[in-house]
Amino acid sequence: MSMTKKRLIPRLLQFALVIAGVYFGFVLLFDVILGALIPKSLLSMYMFFVIAGTFMVFTCTEESAREMVDPIKALVEDPSKKIVRNIVYAVLPLLAGAYIFTSLQLSFEAPVELRSIHPAPPASLKAYGKRFDLATLENPYRKLEKSDPEKFKKLVFEGGEVYIKNCQYCHGDRLDGKGPYADGLNPTPLNFQDVGTIAQLQESYVFWRIATGGPGLPKEAAPWISAMPVWEDFLSEDEIWKVILYLYDYTGMRPRSWKHE
């Protein structure tokens, strides 16, 4: 035998540990931390690349390749390893058989549908027979917050009336996404009290979402399942700006703006 260094953990075991580590890492990240079950097909694909890549790294020199392969060869060929061999010979085919059997079973679980909640907005949007440039679009009433607080308060109130007549059924009158019909929809209406929705967005983005609704979303956000109506059909431009004022006022959130960043 050549002068292979004696390692604390044999190479083959190292290889197995890396693969297992990555696998459980994925499961932990998706299922436990992100709370979204990772689709099986996606996991298989990731794992294929991980195994192939790790294998290449572990066998890149002749010596390291031999270190990987030798223990396997020894197991099969070394007469002194007979007991271990018999065990491996019994277990390996059983495992393979069980894997094939389970993966051929049809799943009755609903397919997982991943969608992006806040896709990139278009550069401009067409509504009310004109074009809005989203990069420069601002809420025309926002400045009144400082310059005319009385008028601003009145506009917020009018926005509240638009909200209660049109939006509470889904987003809830507490603005927490738990309206009376929310449970009957998938995806569920968004929760404006959560820091992950309107607090992250500029008012122009919110205007785009309200004016064009579910059907206005790009493909990665699965427009075909969103129940969010196309409000251009029901509300005036003015009403949308006012309801936006109300969303931020009621929740105590601030819209993001270019100026402060």
Partner: protein, 522 residues
């Protein structure tokens, strides 16, 4: 007033408080201790959170008024529906209102506020609400007498059932099966339509279906609606305390157990039927099919919108064989709406329309995530719509087939040519409609071709013709799935055994040839 009278009053009040606190303890983990609210602070909260429905003056005339049924409560009139004071006492306990504010009122737009308001804030707003009717100084004079609760038992339930039905006591409004299939049209004090509660759906109870709550309702009635008090000695249908407990136990026993929404169950699983598919809605084999129950929401995404639904769930069962697929839709509807029918016209909002139900399926089973738009498809993804209508006194029930590419692009097609068939039945407040269609049709371009083992998107819609529902005014579900479950097959096992054999063989061969090489080398 002398001293002892004063002391008695105090003790009385204390007892009331204690009773209230005990009641509250029944319903929450953390007991709500009756606190005295601060009406000043309550006003601030009210003006931010409650005016939208209940109105600035508390008269129920908030902006939402016209869109809600039941309408937001008018606090100026001082009438409360869910209270535990005596049937002849207008004034509620603070704890009663506190509970409605904290937990909300299922089946109405009134939400529970505990997630957003602190305990103290809720007491404050309850205190403020009282001021609209000038109740801030009023104390209730009588309380419901609960006697001793009779625990549920088959005997108690049987006794309750008898009282429920005797002289049509409850049946008159709630129907024989308790589903609210009334024999008369009911209105509330504000002329609003009221539907008797479907007692088999406890999730729609404003104040829970705990026997004690039901006892309270039977005792006080529901003020402002036609649901009367059965504790009132003047009532011809009066019930004793014991009898009320028996009726309450019976009402609890009516709760549906199978046809209930389970958020995890989003797939209708059609099993292979032995022999012919069931030809009727009451075929015994339907009992073996696993039911999937989905929430119905009113159509509020396209014009004209619809805000006051009466149906809230629909249950689906499915079966198939090598020729066709059968879908059984079941939903509770308080009235069999047959236009022209005298009773139906009387119960419903005349003129009534036909009841109806529809199934929506994609014309092409999607292979990727992309589906047709859930509101009747879109330009590139057409849907099939099968719609049943209950018929009128002049015309029989109908089945229609159409292909839609959005609300506005609808093509009427020939249902018979695609082999679509229906059977329907109405029994004591429940419709059952059975759709049957061949797995494949002649027009594969325009009809969905069913395939085993594929996840097929499916959505449903329902119309209650007695509730002004027709055209775009209806209830609907979001997309769910339907799956024709292939019959169990031995293929997976055969392949697994084959792979095991091959693998073991290969390993043996490797070891054998290595051993041979060894002896050769030696």
């Amino acid at each position: 007033m002398n001293n002892s009278g004063n002391a008695m009053r105090k003790i009385n009040q204390l007892m009331i408080r204690l009773l209230g606190a005990m009641l509250a303890m029944l319903f929450t983990v953390a007991p709500a201790i009756a606190a005295s609210g601060d009406a000043e602070n309550g006003k601030i909260i009210y003006e931010k959170r409650c005016i939208w429905c209940h109105g600035g003056d508390g008269d129920g005339s908030g902006a939402a008024e016209k869109f809600l049924n039941p309408p937001p409560r008018n606090f100026e009139d001082g009438q409360y529906k869910f209270k535990t004071t005596g049937f002849d006492d207008m004034v509620p306990n603070d704890e009663d209102n506190f509970r409605m504010v904290r937990d909300g009122m299922p089946g109405t737009a009134m939400p529970g506020w505990k997630a957003l308001l602190s305990e103290q804030e809720m007491w404050d707003v309850v205190q403020y609400v009282k001021t609209f009717a000038g109740y801030e100084e009023e104390k209730p004079e009588t309380q419901i007498d609960y006697g001793t609760q009779i625990p549920t038992s088959p005997e108690s339930i049987a006794a309750g059932k008898k009282l429920f039905e005797d002289g049509d006591r409850c049946v008159e409004c709630h129907g024989k099966a308790g589903k609210g299939s009334a024999t008369k049209s009911l209105k509330g004090d504000y002329k609003e339509r009221t539907w008797p509660r479907n007692l088999t759906k406890p999730w729609t109870f404003r104040a829970s279906n705990d026997p004690k709550d039901i006892f309270s309702r039977i005792s006080t009635g529901i003020p402002g609606t036609q649901m009367p008090s059965f504790a009132d000695p003047k009532s011809k249908k009066k019930l004793s305390i014991e009898e009320r407990w028996n009726v309450a136990n019976y009402v609890v026993s009516l709760a549906k157990t199978k046809e209930v929404v389970d958020a995890e169950n989003t797939v209708i699983k059609a099993e292979v039927a032995e022999g012919d598919l069931p030809a009727t809605t009451d075929d015994e084999r339907w009992d073996q099919a696993v039911p999937s129950t989905f929430l119905l929401v009113p159509q509020i995404i396209g014009k004209p919108r619809f805000f006051k639904p009466s149906n809230d769930t629909i249950t689906v069962r499915a079966m198939y064989n090598d020729k066709a697929v059968a879908l059984l839709l079941e939903w509770d509807d308080r009235s069999k709406s047959i236009p022209g029918d005298e009773l139906a016209e009387k119960i419903g909002d005349s003129p009534i329309s036909e009841d109806g139900v529809a199934v929506q399926l994609p014309v092409v089973i999607p292979t990727e995530m992309e589906k047709p738009y859930w509101g009747m498809g879109d330009a590139t993804h057409p849907v099939n719509i099968w719609q049943w209508k209950s018929g009128t006194t002049k015309a029989p029930e109908t089945i229609a087939l159409s292909n839609a590419m959005g609300f506005a692009t609808i093509e009427k097609r020939d249902a018979a040519a695609s082999g679509l068939q229906i059977k329907s039945s109405y029994d004591n407040g429940t419709w059952r409609v059975l759709f049957t269609r061949p797995l494949s049709t002649d027009d594969a371009e325009k009809d969905l071709q069913f395939a085993e083992g594929r996840f097929i998107p499916v959505a449903f819609a329902a119309w209650d013709g007695s509730n002004s529902e027709s055209g775009s005014k209806h209830t609907m579900t979001t997309w769910y799935w339907m799956l024709l479950k292939p019959a169990p097959s031995s293929m997976p096992l055969a392949i697994a055994v084959l792979v095991m054999g091959l693998l073991l063989g290969g390993l043996m061969w490797w070891a054998r040839s290595a051993a041979a090489k060894d002896t050769e080398n030696a």
